[in-house]
């Protein structure tokens, strides 16, 4: 009931606001002045946010349709009822705040420290792999190699944190050494890709994919049960014999909690999220406020102009990849140095999904480092919501994963929505004359578009001729 009530209030607020917006804008346009709302809307950043939110909402909508489709089908041993549907719809939005069911069997909401804490814990490595992809993207590189860099970071962090004796060196120092060595490992690993790109002009996507698998095999062979040089780090306990490397807590190395476990009781959260956010802010400053960032962006936006300006693009391409690798590896270090996460060493058949998830995280935030904090948290929240749907309703875990995937998929459309908002894409075509005029001006203004236009023209010729010969 409270849920529906909240929803109604929200609807009234949004509705009222849009009526206000439409009326004031109309009046302002007629009288030739600008309201604060129009100025606000004219900002590029506002359009970015609106378009991202629209894309996400559209994804949620399609996700909901998907949930509706499965009503009545058999799942988890019982057929899905309308109640399951309503619960699931609520949980997509508010899953992280669900605290169980009351005595009447309806969902209740409140502060769920476990869910929210775990969400932030999961977001930590995602923020960093997102930054990894985003920073490389600013330099015009598509870093699909985050999984490999992540694995190298994992291996370095685990080996360093487990082999340095904690009775000689304080665990806190070990933690820092492990963290830094992970970053160095990832940076070196990624700079292989950068060097190939800079000096031999090998497409980074190819080298990234190859180094990904090389990293997977390398890490597996490092920890191999029988032959690996670090097989003494395998954990023999439990029924999953030797499947995992020791948790770093085994050597007393754990990320400090900074009281966050009080705020989110029962969750895995630790200070790693703070480190991740600080790194994101640092990257934001580097990219936007420093000469170094200016050089990086110039190389990415127009490498010819960068060359013309005397910027050494080879150096910056290599550096950009190294930074990207270091960031991905830092994500791995923050995740595994938490002390209570397990690492399956046998990774040669699959790459860590967190590395790949950095791609949607970065693109969702238009590669803005601050935006990446939120998009990574959003992805982690969707994960938690999915878990809650599985736990609280009859929908199984696959369905909830599909819904999350749909939302991510639609969020990739954010750019298109932004172009619609800024009038670059017209939803409805105007009269033919207008279009031809538009073509004409474009033709004149930008010489290099001429070829494109002529191409389309010759295509048109071809199609009609085809028709003629039939």
């Amino acid at each position: 009931m409270t849920f529906i009530f909240l929803f109604l209030i929200l609807a009234v607020i949004i509705g009222g606001f849009s009526v206000y917006a439409i009326l004031t804008t109309k009046k302002a346009k007629a009288n030739g002045y600008e309201t604060w709302l129009m100025k606000f809307y004219a900002k590029d950043s506002v359009k970015t946010i609106i378009s991202s939110v629209t894309a996400i909402l559209l994804g949620l909508l399609v996700g909901c349709l998907f949930l509706i489709m499965f009503v009545g089908s058999e799942m988890s041993g019982r057929s899905i009822s309308g109640f399951d549907l309503i619960d699931a719809l609520q949980l997509i939005f508010f899953g992280g705040f669900n605290t169980g069911r009351n005595e009447f069997g309806s969902l209740i909401y409140g502060w769920n420290g476990v869910s929210l804490g775990n969400m932030l814990f999961r977001a930590t490595p995602l923020i960093l792999t997102g930054l990894s992809v985003g920073v490389a993207y600013k330099t015009g590189l598509f870093n699909i190699g985050a999984p490999g860099q992540y694995l190298m970071g994992t291996a370095a962090a685990l080996i360093v944190s487990l082999t340095i004796p904690s009775d000689v060196i304080p665990p806190f120092i070990i933690w820092i050494i492990a963290f830094l060595s992970a970053i160095i490992a990832g940076a070196l690993w990624a700079s292989i890709v950068g060097l190939f790109k800079a000096f031999l002009n090998v497409n980074e996507v190819i080298t990234c994919i190859m180094t990904n698998w090389i990293a997977a095999i390398l890490v597996t062979s490092l920890f191999d049960k029988t032959t690996g040089p670090f097989n003494f780090l395998l954990d023999p306990s439990g029924d999953k014999n030797y499947k995992f490397v020791y948790k770093t807590a085994h050597n007393g190395v754990e990320t400090i909690k900074l009281g966050l476990d009080k705020l989110f009781p029962g969750s895995q959260i630790n200070a790693g999220i703070i480190v991740a956010i600080l790194i994101a802010i640092l990257m934001f400053i580097i990219i936007n406020k420093t000469t170094f960032g200016y050089s990086l962006k110039s190389c990415g936006s127009n490498k010819h102009a960068a060359q013309y300006a005397g910027i050494n693009s080879k150096l910056y391409i290599t550096l950009s990849m190294a930074i990207a690798g270091g960031l991905a590896a830092a994500g791995a270090a923050l995740y595994y140095l938490s002390g209570n996460t397990e690492f399956t060493w046998s990774t040669y058949q699959s790459l860590p999904a967190i590395g790949f998830n950095g791609i949607p995280v970065a693109l969702l935030a238009s590669c803005n480092p601050i935006g990446i904090i939120f998009s990574a948290s959003f992805m982690a929240y969707l994960d938690i919501s999915g878990l809650q749907i599985r736990n609280m309703t009859m929908y199984n875990e696959y369905i909830s994963s599909i819904v999350s995937a749909l939302i991510v998929y639609f969020s990739a459309f954010a750019l298109i929505f932004k172009q619609i908002l800024s009038g670059k894409i017209k939803l409805f075509r105007k009269k033919k004359e207008d279009i031809s005029n538009a073509v004409d001006t474009r033709f004149k203004e930008e010489d290099y578009n001429v070829d494109k236009k002529e191409e389309t023209d010759s295509k048109e010729v071809e199609t009609t001729e085809e028709g003629g010969t039939e």
């Binding site: 936006s301 127009n302 005397g310």
Partner: protein
């Protein structure tokens, strides 16, 4: 009147701010080769685009065989038997030659399968008839540029086009290929095809065309029978007399040498051989040296070589006596180069950056704009605002405008502002006034002269002979990668320059 196959009568085409074609009439006889001559930007291409249906003229009519026709898009043009070979070919690289020729005009049987055999026979017949040997099964990406052009010509012939438009067809060809092409054109004319031939190379016009129409700055100058005229007359028609474009300047007082270029060569990327061949010259303080020449004769590459954007294959470059042949672009930039690049979108600007960021493109690492690696946004903004004010760069939101949204002329002004304000000894300006209106051109010219008077060395590369004549203190003419003559603008004439530019004459021993 009855033997005109195409008539374009009183065509006027206006673009915002410029009249590209002003009341132009051109009549093409059946079976003739009609050359269309004019400087860059004279409106030749626009006129042909009107004929090919890519633009709609504001005024004027087009007649075919004496009947008024309406050409709204290239489809109509094709239906009327008008074909065009574009300067940049429109071929599918990974298709075979035959596939490219029939693409879009495929004949199929009832089941929709291609009748390739018939097509092959037709193409083979055509290539024999017009002496256009091509390997039909070779892929386009594997054949030379000259061969690709033959494919384009075969494409037009395969479609039974009667009127063939060639848009600067010789610009990308080697001399031998040009000879062959001219022969082919003659052949085609003999067999009844009518050809419109856009060019600004006078030799070629003299060699093949029957008549020649001249355009200058969008206006129709006249049509002459090629056999009754001389290359000198043609070049005078093309360039025109000196317009009231006189830049007031004192005689130059050259001082010490700033730039010396010794025997530099650059390899061509498109054809065999060197695009810049063994070029030597110098530029001194207080003089404007201008490299004149028709587009594509190596001027662009010469500048790339000097500025370091491309590696030179041999020779040496000296800046203020120091050998900078292997210096990085940054070293050249900080030690006295300023460079207004020819391609403003590719090299001059980062289009997705704001205007203020573009204004400090080479300078953001100077202490004036940074402090321990942090950019001083205030200093950048103030500097950018100052340049905008001083050079009258107009944009929507001033310093924070994204450069992509600015007009071409203002983008150019921004580059000029940046390069002229930068500390430099040598200004290399390539086509600095391209895309600017008359008023802006005047200001830029004055500024260039002022640069000279302040003791800077200026190397100007321009395609506009007016600009060359009025600005320079010394003129070097480049033809096919070599400097074929050095002139004093006071003692030479535009006609004379035109002869050297078109390769009709050359000074023995190149530059002195």
């Amino acid at each position: 009147m009855d033997n005109y196959i195409i008539e374009m009568l009183n065509i006027t085409k206006v673009f915002p701010g410029i009249i590209a074609n002003d009341n132009i009439t051109i009549q093409l006889k059946k079976g003739e080769i009609h050359a269309l001559l004019g400087e860059n930007g004279a409106g030749k291409s626009t006129l042909m685009s009107v004929l090919f249906g890519m633009y709609k003229p504001e005024a004027g009519i087009i007649k075919k065989n004496g009947e008024v026709v309406e050409i709204n898009d290239p489809n109509d043009a094709t239906a009327l038997g008008i074909g065009m070979v574009h300067q940049h070919f429109k071929l599918v690289e990974v298709f075979t030659v035959l596939d490219n020729i029939i693409l879009g005009a495929e004949t199929t049987n009832k089941l929709g399968f291609l009748k390739k055999k018939e097509a092959r026979e037709k193409v083979e017949r055509l290539s024999k008839e017009y002496n256009l040997q091509v390997d039909l099964d070779a892929k386009v990406q594997d054949i030379s540029v000259g061969m690709q052009q033959r494919v384009e010509i075969l494409k037009m012939l395969y479609r039974d086009n009667e009127v063939l438009i060639f848009d600067e067809p010789t610009a990308v060809l080697t001399p031998q290929e040009i000879e062959e092409l001219l022969l082919i054109m003659k052949n085609m004319a003999k067999s009844g095809k009518s050809i419109l031939f856009i060019t600004h190379k006078l030799n070629e016009i003299k060699a093949v065309s029957d008549r020649c129409s001249v355009l200058r700055k969008g206006k129709y100058i006249g049509t002459v029978n090629t056999s009754d005229t001389t290359i000198e007359e043609l070049s005078e028609m093309m360039v025109g007399r000196k317009v009231d474009f006189n830049v007031f300047k004192k005689p130059s007082e050259p001082k010490e040498e700033i730039l010396r270029v010794e025997n530099i060569s650059l390899k061509s990327k498109i054809k065999k051989g060197n695009v810049v061949n063994n070029v030597s010259f110098n530029v001194r303080r207080g003089e404007i040296v201008c490299v004149a020449g028709i587009e594509g004769n190596g001027q662009t590459d010469l500048v790339y070589g000097i500025t370091g954007l491309e590696k030179i294959t041999s020779g040496n470059i000296f800046l203020k006596g120091k050998n900078i042949t292997h210096a990085s672009i940054k070293e050249r930039n900080t030690n006295g180069f300023s460079h207004i690049p020819e391609d403003r979108h590719k090299y001059g600007l980062i289009l997705d950056f704001t205007l203020e960021n573009n204004m400090v493109l080479q300078r953001y690492e100077e202490p004036m704009f940074q402090n321990h690696g942090f950019i001083k946004p205030k200093a950048v903004r103030e500097y950018s605002d100052k340049l905008i004010e001083e050079y009258d760069v107009r944009s929507g939101q001033g310093s924070v405008t994204i450069v992509r949204s600015m007009s071409g002329g203002n983008q150019q002004k921004a580059i000029i502002a940046r390069e002229m304000d930068k500390d430099h000894d040598l200004l290399i300006a390539v086509q600095p006034t391209r895309g600017l209106d008359v008023g802006a051109i005047e200001t830029i010219h004055k500024r260039i002269v002022k640069e000279r008077d302040e003791g800077k060395a200026v190397l100007l590369i321009s395609l506009e002979l007016d600009e060359v004549m009025s600005l320079s203190d010394r003129i070097l003419v480049m033809y096919e990668g070599e400097i074929v003559g050095e002139f004093d603008p006071k003692t030479t004439t535009v006609q004379e320059l035109g002869l050297y530019m078109a390769g009709a004459k050359r000074m023995e021993g190149g530059s002195k």
